[in-house]
């Protein structure tokens, strides 16, 4: 099988990947903890 010299298509930049969503949500949670919205998270 031979494939022409086409470029590997990249994801559309405006669409966040699962990785990026995880980072956004985790950072948001960290900021809420920092702001004192969540004072104590039990375990």
């Amino acid at each position: 099988m031979s494939i022409d010299e086409k470029e590997v298509p990249l994801e559309k930049p405006w669409r966040l990947s699962l990785d990026s969503w995880a980072v956004v949500v985790a950072l948001l949670a960290a900021l809420l903890v920092r702001a004192g919205v969540f004072k104590h998270i039990p375990w």
Binding site: E7, L10, A22, I41
Partner: protein, 361 residues
């Protein structure tokens, strides 16, 4: 034949509906994870009260076992599947939050050592898996997928490589099934071997991070040993994950030069697209914690939040593992994966023991 790992066709769905579809599965993850936590707290007490000899089983193992029980008996009903698949999201969010429990100095010290070990592991694993695949007469692209999956980071690496080298769906299904099956085995064998060899938390955590392929399984295998080992397994595994772009790019260029894959245009954009962004999030939170952006109590709260996220992940690892489906995948790729993994596990164990003596970590 390759029907264990089915990549679902994505239909255009309203975002609100997509979100609603996640809820049943996420609730199932939370229920199983929490049940695991309750079992950890209560089974030991009950056994002690009744004078039974019962091992202290941690919530990690309970959550995985409960998930395995459901997945391999009644199965996971369709309504839960979309939400159960979010366990990867919880894993990555948990890793980012775990960054608060690492000071930058620790990361630089351990990261430097682990980077060296990871470089040796990746080179050795790719070379050995390629050799083994040729001995077993596997298809060249299947060999590439197995090599990347076992050397770098399991399923994510296989999916990233599949797209970059135009591999068949069947080959990627084989590779993913083999890597998942071996990851499930590693969950149970690694802690036993670690205890048998009396490995310290650090040595064991680094070993689990180096040798267990999938990030979820590496995190679980570390946490099953101890909290400290779990932290280190995540750090080393994240270092491995950070290498994914370079390895996939190298293979993409190789297969394009053979006329069997599309050429890579913008290499920097390619690397950025493949780079796991959660590693950057982990480093950012760690920098913030190092410069005391968070108080001590807040660091504790973030650590607990990370544990809750991992709790959902561990439930998902159990629910995702179906032994019947894995058996359908055929023996040869699994045999290559299994032999490769055993050799890589022994090789990395030697590396860690050697590095421990040399660097004294």
């Amino acid at each position: 034949m390759a029907d264990a790992v089915v990549i679902p066709q994505v239909q255009p769905v309203q975002p609100a509906l997509r979100f609603l579809r996640l809820i049943p599965g996420v609730l199932l993850l939370a229920a199983i994870g929490y049940a695991g936590k309750l079992l950890e707290q209560n089974v030991g007490k009950y056994a002690k009260a009744h004078h039974w000899v019962f091992p202290n089983i941690e919530y990690v193992l309970w959550a995985i076992l409960l998930g395995l029980l459901i997945s391999n008996t009644v199965g996971v009903p369709e309504i839960f599947r979309t939400g159960v698949a979010t366990y990867e999201f919880w894993l990555k969010a948990g890793i980012v939050l775990l960054g608060a429990r690492f000071l930058l100095g620790d990361i630089l010290k351990l990261g430097g050592v682990s980077l060296l070990l990871v470089a040796i592991e990746i080179t050795g694993a790719i070379a050995f898996m390629t050799f083994l695949g040729r001995v077993f007469h596997l298809k060249p692209k299947l060999i590439t997928l197995l090599a990347v999956g076992s050397a770098v980071c399991g399923v994510s690496a296989i999916i990233a490589t599949k797209g970059a080298i135009d591999a068949d769906d069947e080959d990627s299904s084989f590779s993913i099934a083999a890597i998942l099956a071996l990851g499930a085995l590693a969950l149970f064998t690694f802690p036993l071997i670690g205890h048998y060899l009396h490995l310290g938390d650090r040595a064991y955590g680094i070993w689990a991070g180096l040798a267990v392929d999938n990030t979820a399984e590496a995190t679980a295998a570390g946490a099953l040993y101890s909290d400290a080992a779990g932290k280190l397994a995540v750090l080393v595994k994240s270092t491995r994950n950070a290498m994914i772009g370079f390895v996939v790019l190298a293979y993409a260029i190789y297969w394009a030069s053979q006329g069997q894959a599309k050429a890579v245009g913008n290499k920097a954009a390619f690397l950025w697209q493949k780079f796991p962004k959660f590693v950057l999030g982990f480093l950012l939170i760690s920098v913030l914690a190092t410069y005391q952006f968070f108080s001590k109590d807040q660091v504790g709260a973030l650590g607990n939040l990370s544990r809750w996220a991992f709790l959902l992940t561990f439930a998902g690892v159990g629910l995702r593992t179906n032994f019947r489906d894995m058996r359908k995948q055929g023996l040869r790729p699994f045999a290559v994966g299994a032999i490769g993994e055993v050799v890589i596990a022994v090789f990395t164990l030697g590396l860690v023991v050697g590095a421990e003596k040399f660097f004294g970590f």
